[in-house]
Amino acid sequence: MGLLTNLKDSISKVSDRLFADEEPKRIGIYGPPNAGKTTLANRIARDWTGDAVGPESHVPHETRRARRKEGVEIERNGRTVTIDIVDTPGVTTKVDYKEFLDHDMEKDDAVRRSREATEGVAEAMHWLREDVDGVIYVLDSTTDPFTQVNTMLIGIIESQDLPVLILANKTDLPESNIQRVANAFPQHETIPLSALEGDNMDEVYDKIAEYFG
C-alpha cells in the first residue's frame, strides 16, 4: 500500500461520503407498547453488528428510554445501506402505575417505571417531530390495529412525509391476522414477520434497503 493508494483511498472515501448524501438515516422504531419493537431492534442489531440494543419483556413499557444503535450496515444485493436505528418506548396517551402492580411489582418500582415510561414517550414524540428520517412502525398482528394511538401516530408520520414501513409482527402466533393490519393502513405497505423467530427477515431487510437506503 503506497502513499498514493492510501491517498486515493481516503479521497474516494471522502467523496463517497459527499455523494452518499450526508449521514446515515436515522430510523425510528415506533409502535404501541409490547408490539415487539425491541425484539426487532435486537434482531436487526444482532444480524448486522453482532450485539443487542436492549432488554425485551412481556411487561409493557420495558423500553423507557430511546436507545440508539448507530451505523448498522445492511447489505442487500451487493449494496450497503447504513442506518442508525432508534428503539423507542411504546407510545400511549395514558400510564397508570397500578397496572404494573399486576406484574408482581412493588409500588415504588411501579411508580418509577411509570414515571420513566412517561418521560420516554414524551421524548419519543419529540424525536418524531424533529429527529428521525424514517419510521418502522411495529404492530402486534394478534391485536386490533384500529386504535387511536395507531391512527394518530401514522397521521403524524404522514404529515411529516417520512417514509414508513408497517410491520405486522408475531406471525408465529395462531391468532396473528396480517390482513387486518394491511386493511387498517391500506396506503402503506405491510410486511409480515416474526421478530422473535426471525421469520421473513429477508423481506424486512429488502424493504429497509428500499425505503431508507
Binding site: 395514558k94 411509570s114 414515571r115 387511536q148 394518530m152 397521521g155 396506503q187
Partner: protein, 143 residues
C-alpha cells in the same frame, strides 16, 4: 367577540362557577367549535384541552387537532401524568376512512382536510366502548 375561555389558566369556567366540577355529581362537557380553536396557537389549544380534562371534564372538539398538535398533546400529557393524580387522557376520533383524500398541496399548505370530531377525557373517566368510521360510543364515569 372575545369572552371567557374555558379553564385557561385554571380561571373562570363557562358558567362562571368554580372550575372544579367535583362540587356536584355531574360530568361537564365542553364542546369547542372550530371557530373557537382557530385563533389559538398550538400550545393554547393543548392547554385548553388539558386544563379541562385535568378538571375531570370531557372536551369535544368540533374539528380536532392537526397531526403536529396531536403529537404535542401526547408529549405534554406525558409530562403531566403523576401517580394517583392524573393518569393521562383517553382520546378518540373517527378513523380516517380515506387517507388519500388529502392532496400533497393541501399538506404543503398546512390545510387539514382531515378535520374530524375529537373527544378527549381523563383516562380514568372516559372509556371507549366502540368505534368505527361513523360512530364513537363511549362511557363516561364520575371519578
Amino acid at each position: 367577540m372575545p369572552e371567557a375561555t374555558p379553564n385557561v389558566d385554571g380561571g373562570d369556567g363557562i358558567d362562571g362557577s368554580d372550575d372544579d366540577n367535583g362540587d356536584d355529581d355531574g360530568v361537564r362537557i365542553d364542546l369547542i367549535s372550530g371557530a373557537r380553536m382557530e385563533g389559538l396557537t398550538s400550545m393554547e389549544k393543548i392547554r385548553l384541552i388539558l386544563d379541562g380534562v385535568r378538571d375531570g371534564n370531557i372536551v369535544i372538539l368540533e374539528e380536532g387537532l392537526a397531526p403536529d398538535e396531536e403529537s404535542k398533546l401526547i408529549e405534554v400529557t406525558m409530562t403531566e401524568i403523576s401517580p394517583d393524580e392524573f393518569t393521562g387522557i383517553e382520546i378518540e376520533t373517527y378513523p380516517k376512512s380515506d387517507a388519500g383524500d388529502q392532496t400533497l398541496l393541501d399538506r404543503l399548505m398546512g390545510r387539514e382536510s382531515a378535520q374530524k370530531l375529537t373527544v378527549i377525557g381523563p383516562a380514568n373517566q372516559l372509556q371507549t366502548l366502540h368505534k368505527d368510521e361513523t360512530l364513537i360510543s363511549a362511557l363516561v364515569s364520575r371519578k
